[in-house]
Symmetry: C2
Subunit: 286 residues, 2 copies
């Protein structure tokens, strides 16, 4: 049971955790924090949080658990604002989509020996954002990856694990570097491709007509291009090295496919498409 949970950034991710913990009866009080009083008032009205503060230092006062669910570019500022105001025994965790940059920020602000910070990442979300998009079931059966450091206290890890499990998630632990590679492949690169494709097509002359003839496959394929641009700018900058390597690897593979089309190498095309279909069908079966 969490006595006072402080959620900094009450959007889809933070709001859904609040709703889930409340529904599970696993939290006594939830304090929301953020820059927009309007959004926080809405969160109170929706019953997602009990009260709010726009001053992060005041927001974390007396909280035994603090979740930072803000875009990656805002993490270090949040840490700096709360560092001197945390209650004794408070655990701090985050929901950032890249872990290397968040860990570097935490170490700069909290110190390299800080044992109360547990880096985390819930593998869940939709293309929508904001507290109005939040729902209690978002984490049901979804994975949350924790990437603790050698200095992270086992009790802190256990408390964060218990929180996400109470929200319905399956919690796993992973090395931060490995997390950032896996997510670059399965999430960051696909988002970059979807954003680039839609922006590229939107620049074509007869774009209005082009989108008019798009079918259901296009709608699904580009759904993630409706995601929050600020969040994705920050992810690209935070995990830039791995994402760039993924982009460059993908360009190489796409050039190889282009050459196969140029050479009218039907066998090679069939092999690529067949391997992709087999891998994707296996993934869906699971």
């Amino acid at each position: 049971m969490i006595k006072r949970l402080c959620i900094i950034g009450v959007g889809l991710i933070g709001g859904s955790l609040a709703r889930a913990l409340r529904a599970a009866g696993q939290v006594r009080e939830i304090v929301g924090a953020g820059r927009s009083a309007e959004n926080l008032q809405q969160a109170v009205a929706l019953g997602v949080i009990d009260r709010y503060e726009t001053d992060f230092a005041r927001a974390v006062e007396g909280a035994d658990m603090v979740l930072a669910a803000v875009p990656l570019g805002a993490m270090e500022g949040v840490f700096a604002a709360i560092a001197d105001h945390l209650a004794d025994g408070a655990v701090v965790t985050d929901a950032g989509s890249a872990k290397g940059s968040v860990i570097a920020s935490a170490q700069r602000v909290f110190g390299a020996a800080a044992d109360f910070f547990v880096p985390g990442h819930p593998i869940a979300g939709t293309e929508r954002s904001g507290v109005t998009a939040s729902f209690a079931e978002l984490y049901q059966g979804r994975r949350v990856i924790l990437t603790p450091l050698p200095e992270t206290a086992a009790t802190a890890i256990a408390r964060v694990r218990a929180m996400w499990e109470a929200a319905g998630a399956r919690v796993v632990e992973m090395e931060p570097v490995h997390h950032d590679e896996v997510l670059a492949a399965t999430s960051h690169l696909p988002h970059v491709l979807a954003f680039t494709l839609v922006e590229s097509l939107a620049r074509l002359q007869d774009k209005r007509e082009i989108f008019e003839y798009a079918a259901g496959g296009f709608r699904d394929f580009t759904r993630i291009a409706s995601s929050d641009p600020v969040m994705w700018r920050d992810i690209c900058l935070a995990n830039s090295t791995v994402i760039q390597a993924m982009i460059e690897r993908f360009i190489g593979d796409l050039q190889a496919l282009d050459r196969a089309v140029e050479a009218r190498d039907g066998e090679r095309l069939l092999q690529i498409f067949g391997d992709a279909k087999a891998a994707r069908d296996r993934f869906v079966e699971k």
Copy 2:
């Protein structure tokens, strides 16, 4: 009312048209044709077609409407097999995803003055294939693009239009070259990207684990990579010039994004992602 409809290739596309026309009471008899007797027997058992022939020449005998719904690479062979066996006044149409190559095949086989062939393309489908995936509602509210030539008879166009409208579709006409450009942008390129991404990730060393941490966005983004590899090989070869131009344009845009990440140009990234989101949100609203 179609008296005898011959559908060559009774899969998702042909089978769904058969079901829709039957449901609408707009066809008296449906003869299926294809290479696989097993699939055709299944189509009869499902009530999709009345009877079948594996010999295309026999299949079109006495049919007033013939639909070729086979992969693009098989079109010319189908045309050659039926050319000398069509009934007087029969109309032939197709469902190919690229029109330039089908028109070239039709002109080679039927002659440049053939007035009974109406090139067509229903903008509908799912990632599944085969007659078991077919359903009567597939074309409801979806577009069918016809790309008639100057020599195509107005009566032939009208009959094909009426057939698709009876299946619930909205029929539009377009220049063949323009069709192939629009579809390369909204369908062919996205499929190529999805296939390439999944095949590329499947070659990563820890692929099993990588797919394990993929979230809902990845599932949607890669849905089209479960499409039929033969169909897509044929589309890539049939519309190769336009698809290659699209691939190369996309690689240029992706390289520009890579450079923005490299330069840590957050403003540029925000602009690309924001423009994409705006275009995608507009597309979905329609």
